[in-house]
């Protein structure tokens, strides 16, 4: 007789974490292959095509890095919120609010201020927008005990409608000939890109810097420690006199602010004007949740996992065109991988032992 049993694993090494992640992703890809098979697509071809499309060509890789920028920014910010067990599902709305704030700044001052003044100003405005939209659920949670999953999601919908209201109404640009959308940002307010690509490198550098600084904040500062205690052991935190309201407010200002920065990058680096919510962000706020989870809630690792999931987004676009698969395919890939990542966590924390015995 074969018996399976699980016991707690007390030592979790970095190598084991990495191996578990790789194994989980591989198992996830195996299940995705089955889904592809059922959909009548050769899975080997589809999966090769995904990675070929994103990492296999120079053009694809440039696109992957472009899409990694918002994912790194948001993913890094989410690691902080998730560590405090604040389930911020509202990065999408925080990104849009950042886009709204920075577009206003760019349109209002872009013609009068030089580039080196207006660009930092727009990033500051974007951070502020995202942070403001991020602290609302923090206040609602601490003061009114409202579940943050619900409030952040509702704020996503509300922000998307505010944005639409602006671009079909007061902000509708004269140069759009009646179509929704603001006028283009002035040249001074547009981020320059690496020639031959869409990589707005200022935001990329900012994203990596933010991830690095956040890693130091989480592991080396008192605030980072407090944020972790709020999540892991709230009772001890209360006993130790941690101010939950202040800590949650700050961490959500950072988490939302980073999403706001991503919004600045999308508007000033990619689109150059404010258009419909679905074109400003293609679900980065949700994909970043998996980015943060794969990074094991370490902001620096979010750089790597951000690039990985950006690759899946770009590869997903590639197979849509070459295999005629619907856009939703990427969501299947993301959902399945996330399920396998959390399944992997179990094997990371529990030792599986198989014992053989004769009965």
């Amino acid at each position: 007789m074969i018996r399976l049993s699980f016991t707690d694993r007390y030592k979790i090494t970095r190598v084991r974490t990495l191996m578990t992640n790789i194994f989980s992703l591989a198992a996830g890809l195996a299940v995705i292959s089955i889904i592809f098979l059922i959909a009548g697509v050769n899975p080997l071809f589809a999966i090769t095509e995904i990675f070929q499309g994103s990492f296999g060509s120079i053009y694809g890789f440039k696109e992957t890095i472009t899409k990694a920028i918002p994912l790194i920014l948001i993913g890094a910010g989410l690691t902080l919120a998730f560590r405090a067990k604040f389930w911020n599902i509202g990065a999408e709305g925080q990104l849009l609010m950042g886009a709204i704030f920075s577009t206003w700044t760019g349109l209002a001052f872009g013609n009068t201020l030089p580039s080196f003044v207006i660009i930092p100003l727009m990033f500051a405005a974007g951070f502020l927008g995202g942070a403001l939209w991020g602290i609302i659920p923090a206040i609602l949670k601490i003061k009114y005990a409202i579940n943050e999953v619900i409030s952040t999601l509702m704020l996503n919908y509300i922000c998307a409608h505010i944005l639409t209201m602006l671009i079909v109404g007061p902000w509708k640009g004269a140069s759009r000939f009646g179509f929704p959308g603001t006028d283009n940002l002035p040249d001074a307010a547009i981020l320059s890109v690496i020639p031959g690509s869409r990589i707005h490198y200022v935001t990329l550098i900012l994203a990596i810097a933010c991830a690095a600084v956040l890693t130091i904040i989480i592991y080396r500062t008192r605030f980072g420690y407090e944020a972790r205690v709020v999540g892991e052991n709230p009772d001890a935190g209360k006993y130790a006199g941690i101010n939950f309201f202040k800590t949650t407010l700050i961490l959500m200002a950072i988490s939302g602010g980073l999403a706001g920065l991503a919004g600045v990058g999308e508007v000033a680096g990619i689109h150059h004007y404010l258009s419909y919510p679905a074109s400003v962000s293609s679900g980065y706020g949700f994909t970043a949740i998996i980015v943060a989870w794969l990074a094991k809630l370490n902001p620096l690792y979010a750089v790597v996992s951000g690039i990985f999931f950006a690759g899946i987004l770009v590869g997903g676009d590639a197979i849509q065109i070459s295999l005629g698969l619907p856009a939703a395919t990427v969501e299947i890939v993301n959902g399945t991988l996330l399920i396998f990542l959390i399944m992997g966590d179990y094997f990371l924390h529990n030792r599986l032992s198989i014992t053989f015995s004769h009965t």
Binding site: Y144, A145, V149, M154, Y157, I158, A328, G335, I342, Y346
Partner: protein, 306 residues
């Protein structure tokens, strides 16, 4: 004027129906201590399954059954990760939503924009439906409406009065003590999650084969998330869920009523989401002990641990 009242009431009942179905399901699930954030995805999968099966077989009832089955099957994933693997329920639920929305989009792609010609006959209760003003709204509706009300009432009775219902509730309050009573806590939680998923899928079926008679990606439009908020608003009580859901149905309908007043349609479209937040604020002003949330909600239970 009479026409406006009748049609407003009627549309309120229609808009509240999917909310009631999904909320009832989530209440059963959360009562057992499991938070399921997958409602939105399961609802979408239910909608697409019901639509395709109804269109190909010509029978809406087969569509309903297929949706129910699909919702229950996909919910097993969440039950497995959150009960057996004791994983984080928030992340697992989100993953389920992504998977559900993705599968629905993929499977439903060839059906986007195709109208459903097969109609589900309304059920009209004689005599009662002749009551002025309210008769038509309450007693001449789609079968889903009566199904939603009946399931909510049955669930209320089931959770309050039956042995299994009490076992579900005590699993959500104190799984350890429940287990010492000889109850299989894991099984109870599995069953609750699966029933909840089935109800969410029924809500989706209502949207695609009764409400809009078509399938398009994103047609659930956040109703699954609103159902999760309504679960709190209903204080985890299916009886209260009835009026909570129809109050929200009314808010959905209010959008269209206020449009002629010249208010921006985008502002009106925000109303259900703003109302959700406002209502949660109002609820929180209550004494938290009277909120009656399951004590062990979203807390994984590990056997043999003290």
């Amino acid at each position: 004027m009479e026409d406006i009242i009748i049609s407003t009431l009627q549309r309120t009942m229609v808009a509240g129906t999917p909310l009631l179905l999904a909320t009832t399901g989530e209440i059963i699930c959360e009562r057992s201590g499991i938070l399921n954030l997958g409602v939105e995805g399961v609802m979408a999968l239910g909608a697409v399954t019901a639509f395709i099966v109804t269109m190909t077989t010509g029978s809406p009832w087969l569509g309903v059954l297929a949706a129910l089955a699909a919702g229950m099957v996909i919910s097993v994933i969440h039950a497995f990760t959150s009960v057996t693997l004791q994983a984080n329920q928030v992340v697992s639920g989100l993953a389920l939503t992504m998977l559900g929305l993705g599968l629905a989009g993929m499977v439903g792609k060839p059906y986007v924009g195709k109208p459903l010609t097969i109609k589900m006959e309304d059920i009209t209760i004689p005599i009662l439906s002749d009551i002025p003003y309210i008769g038509k709204a309450f007693f001449s509706q789609s079968p889903f409406f009566f199904m939603a009300i009946a399931l909510a009432l049955i669930s209320w009775f089931f959770l309050q009065r039956t042995r299994l219902g009490i076992q579900i509730r005590s699993t959500g309050e104190n799984p350890r003590a429940t287990e010492t009573q000889g109850v299989n806590v894991f099984l109870i939680r599995y069953v609750s999650v699966i029933i909840g998923g089935g109800f969410s899928a029924l809500a989706g079926a209502h949207l695609s084969i009764s409400y809009s008679k078509s399938w398009i990606e994103g047609m659930t439009a956040g109703r699954g998330w609103i159902a999760i908020a309504l679960t709190i608003f209903a204080l985890w009580n299916p009886g209260r869920a009835i009026w909570a859901a129809f109050l929200f149905g009314g808010i959905f309908v209010a959008q269209y009523l206020m449009q002629p007043l010249g208010i921006s349609p985008n502002f009106l479209a925000m109303l259900p989401y703003i109302a959700t937040l406002l209502i949660l604020v109002l609820i929180s002003l209550k004494d938290p002990r009277k909120l009656n949330a399951p004590a062990m909600l979203a807390t994984p239970y590990k056997r043999g641990e003290r």
